[in-house]
């Protein structure tokens, strides 16, 4: 079995080269990468198309185990490959929580059945995410976790967080921090500013994020642990991150497509799909995020794909759960907002959505395109335009904040381990 992809623009962020090449895939790997490879088998004509290394998402919620009505390993995988992702990390705020090897094994077993992409479970920092004792992190690592997180909340006890960081550093685990001071977000529903004032919705101030960003950066500086800051939404947090990077603290950060494309004006229609945590912030925050993506202060773009049951999202704004799905729209949003506006190029995009996440996780054979590697690729039609429609999602949940938006750029094929797992 072989597959030849002809004449596409091969974007390799590792060598920083984007050139027209053919890619010959044999079995599961990239056998040859060159111009004008002779075809003797199945071919894909990629003329005018962009070829990136398979995208890597550091931040999805697959809701397994516990809320299989919202997403399953298979439906999440289908959404991922439709969006160009071949590796995703799933967050531990499940039921039961991913805080021991048996839950990790369950996800791995389910994924062996689905068999489309690599899914790497993120372990919970504390047992049951209760914030009382940190989990058996060595066991989680042995089971296959590369990172731990309390996602959905912060570890409130600063001493416990310090100890978890020290212990994680000992094991070489990445600590992904959801930065939120719950006392400050104080059951708020949206960003706290003039828009929340007009709408009368209870606000979540930006300090709810920045205070924990500052705290966790200081903890990382002190413990020398590897810290990754999840879904950064505020400009002020970016200033703290820049300072930390200048000081050589081992910290990286991600933002999400919704913070790139939207500001809190979107909440004005009381559409519950705009209810996201952290909340959509101000236009000024958004502009700072765009700059930080260009300058490299933000290392990665993740989806924070958060599927929710339709009935729950159709409740009143204050009762609806937080979150938007994102796997199927992330790449197109990034193309539309960043590529089309010439803020970044394809190489930068490949870094933000593939190489940098791979590096941060220590995945040495992912995030770039080279001979001998497993063939994880996405072929993109950069000119295609499409309208985001609720009925088109393959995810089990439909709660996308981008429904009704026109987006540029579309995934034609996703290839995972040499196999075509998605075709438009």
């Amino acid at each position: 079995m072989s597959l030849l992809i002809q004449n596409g623009l091969v974007v390799d962020p590792a060598t920083n080269k984007a050139q027209i090449q053919d890619i010959l895939i044999e079995k599961s790997g990239i056998a040859k990468l060159a111009k004008n490879i002779k075809a003797d088998n199945k071919t894909i004509d990629a003329t005018g198309k962009i070829i990136l290394p398979g995208l890597i998402d550091l931040h999805t919620h697959l809701r397994v185990p516990g809320r299989e009505d919202e997403e399953t390993i298979l439906s999440g995988s289908l959404a991922a490959v439709k969006g160009g992702f071949t590796t995703i990390m799933c967050m531990p705020n499940t039921n039961p929580v991913i805080d021991n090897a048996s839950v990790v094994d369950l996800i791995k077993k389910e994924n062996a059945k689905a068999g489309l992409i690599d899914i790497i479970p993120v372990g919970a920092i504390t047992k049951g995410q209760l914030g009382c004792e940190f989990s058996e992190l060595a066991e989680l690592k042995e089971a296959g976790c590369l990172a731990i997180s309390e996602d959905g909340k912060s570890v409130e006890n600063t001493h416990l967080m310090r100890r978890a960081l020290e212990y994680a550093r000992m094991l070489g685990l990445l600590v992904i921090s959801h930065c939120e001071d719950k006392n400050l977000s104080n059951s708020g529903l949206m960003h706290e500013d003039i828009v929340s004032t007009k709408l009368g919705l209870k606000g979540i101030p930006d300090i709810a994020e920045t205070i924990i960003v500052g705290r966790d950066i200081e903890l990382a500086r002190f413990t020398k642990a590897k810290l990754h800051l999840a879904h950064i939404s505020t400009g002020r947090a970016l200033e703290l991150i820049k300072r930390a990077k200048d000081d050589s603290v081992d910290v990286t950060a991600e933002t999400c497509p919704h913070y790139i494309a939207l500001n809190d004006e979107a909440v004005s229609t009381f559409n519950t799909n705009t209810k996201i945590n952290p909340p959509l912030r101000t236009e000024k925050d958004r502009q700072q995020i765009l700059k930080a993506l260009q300058s490299g202060i933000i290392d990665c773009i993740s989806t924070d794909h958060a599927p929710h049951n339709q009935a729950e999202k159709e409740l009143e704004y204050n009762l609806a759960p937080f979150g938007t799905i994102g796997l199927e729209t992330a790449l197109s949003v990034v193309i539309t907002e960043l590529l089309e506006n010439k803020l970044i190029d394809w190489l930068q995009l490949a870094k933000l959505m593939s190489l940098n996440p791979a590096k941060r996780l220590g995945l040495k054979d992912k995030g770039f395109i080279a001979e001998g590697l497993e063939a994880n690729l996405v072929i993109i039609d950069p000119q295609a335009e499409w309208l985001v429609k609720e009925g088109d999602f393959v995810s089990k949940s439909k709660n996308s904040v981008f429904i009704g938006k026109k987006l540029k750029g579309c995934v034609d094929y996703t290839i995972s381990k040499g196999r075509i797992v998605f075709k438009r």
Binding site: K127, E136, M170
Partner: protein, 319 residues
Amino acid sequence: MATNPSNKTKWNKKDLLGLEELTKEEIELVLDTADSFKEVLTREVKKVPTLRGKTVVLLFLEPSTRTRTSFELAAKRLSADTISIAGNSSSIVKGESLTDTAKNIEAMNVDVIVLRHMAEGSAYMLSKQVDAAVINAGDGCHEHPTQALLDIMTIRERKQNIQDLKIAIVGDIAHSRVARSNIWGLKKLGAHVIVCGPATLMPKDVEELGVEVSYDINDAIKDADVINVLRLQMERQKEHLFPSIREYIRLFGIDKERLTHAKKDVLILHPGPVNRGIELSADVADSPYALILNQVTNGIAVRMAVLYLLGVQKGEKQK
């Protein structure tokens, strides 16, 4: 008498507060003296008149069975009179009572006070307040000099020389007075010391004491001549320092399987009491590798040596 005439060093300290303050020669003097006292313990009449007429107060303000018994027996072997005062320092207000107690004991004109106390620095504080010689029998997480001396004596019996030995200290380094005293003593005698334990139980900047830090037990014990295994205090789990006993055993427990990474003639020390099946598996604790009972025996000899050196010094001063 059983003093060792070969060692030219003269003891001139009033107290034994820790190994940080001792020179290499002073440590060797104690060890040499202990070696000769050990011979006394094998005699049929295990008693010498060296400290006859002297009074040793055992002031143990933190629970201890073996250290107190060891000191008491050592003092009795030297023919000293002993008084045991037990109590709980945690119920005493801020050290004021330690001062009061010290003054009272002083008024009784005793010669040596052996102090076990949960507060770091308590032995130092006491030594400033009394003319009697003070022996630190463990002050909080700070020092436990006689334990380290008996550990070193036990190693020296088997390996002759401490110089260049590779010695791994494994466990809760942060809260261990045994580890601190061992590090001071072993470094002064030229050993290569590796401390190994969870990062959460490793004290800040400990490498500045000249030790190697390892978080991988197999690395730490590879080629080790001696492994000194510390007792794990279970209550540390509640202080967010490790996730579970189970995972502690997985990462740092010493069992037969793990010892295949160490030298064939590796020695295992443990200050006791052992949590069997936790920091040390039962089969290792009972194996010929383990010198735990030799440590106990040597403890008496070391404490006789320390009581002798301080007690005699005290007598000379008073003349």
